[in-house]
Symmetry: D3
Subunit: 63 residues, 6 copies
């Protein structure tokens, strides 16, 4: 039943593989729902399409 | 007025053409709203970015 | 697999019952997916929280 | 940076308190991002407004 | 065409009236699209259903 | 705190740079929140994946 939509920048598939497993575990452990009922959808948004404080992430100095 | 957002894997344009027409008809028939008031937005998500049961779709054996 | 999120104003349950059945049929008929794989989530938004053309729906004259 | 939107039925605040902490940990552990960069938004949808297989959850026999 | 979904805590209608007008102006001025093509949907989420840094807003000390 | 998700067709980065700044100003001016608390996520959807009135935008005659 829980549908999880994640908005974040692009990530390697290994990281996403680990992330979706951990997010699903969070629901199983916190809500005692079956893992198969949990769906995770990752919306990857490029850095020139999201902003914090009115500044595109692409325009911010690299950390 | 109704805004419909669909999250699914990539599909051919012919299928999407048929799908958006049928979804719009569903609103016209069920809610008696004008077709022009219905918007359908399809968010295509690659198989390495969505998961059921903690497993990426890309990692599941092909059916 | 398809997750359908609908943003619209509040509706009676009878209308929603008909709507979700028709939306699901649209996916089954257009994409040949099993009905059980289709989820429909209706986000009901009051008229003082959505706007077209910069005007809240609650502020528009009743039709 | 990661914005997490959860669509699910209504839950007690204790469960939500535990859930948001675990989801945030999933991002910190999998992506090595600071916890403060993770936001979780829970959209609680009543059972007469979401459906699987074309049937409202409210219309399904209680488990 | 642009559909704008805002996730935030509950606000008075006066503030929302001003907000949707300003958001619509932002699209008209930046993208030169007609105001009538812009829709703004505000999803009001109570403080016990959203979190930053793994802590529910409701659990944070009032500012 | 406000998370703004925009669904629209693809746009040049200059337009998006101006748009996110203006949207953020709208929240600062209307709600008196700090700019750094506002996030804008632009979901760019190709014209063969969104429809008004049951017709894909890609299928509509160019204006």
């Amino acid at each position: 039943m829980p549908i999880v939509t994640v908005q974040q920048g692009p990530r390697d598939v290994e990281l996403k593989r680990d992330l979706v497993a951990r997010i699903t575990d969070a629901f199983v452990d916190a809500l005692n729902v079956p893992a198969e009922s949990v769906q995770v959808w990752i919306q990857e948004v490029p850095t020139d399409s999201w902003a914090i404080g009115g500044v595109l992430t692409a325009d911010r100095p690299k950390k």
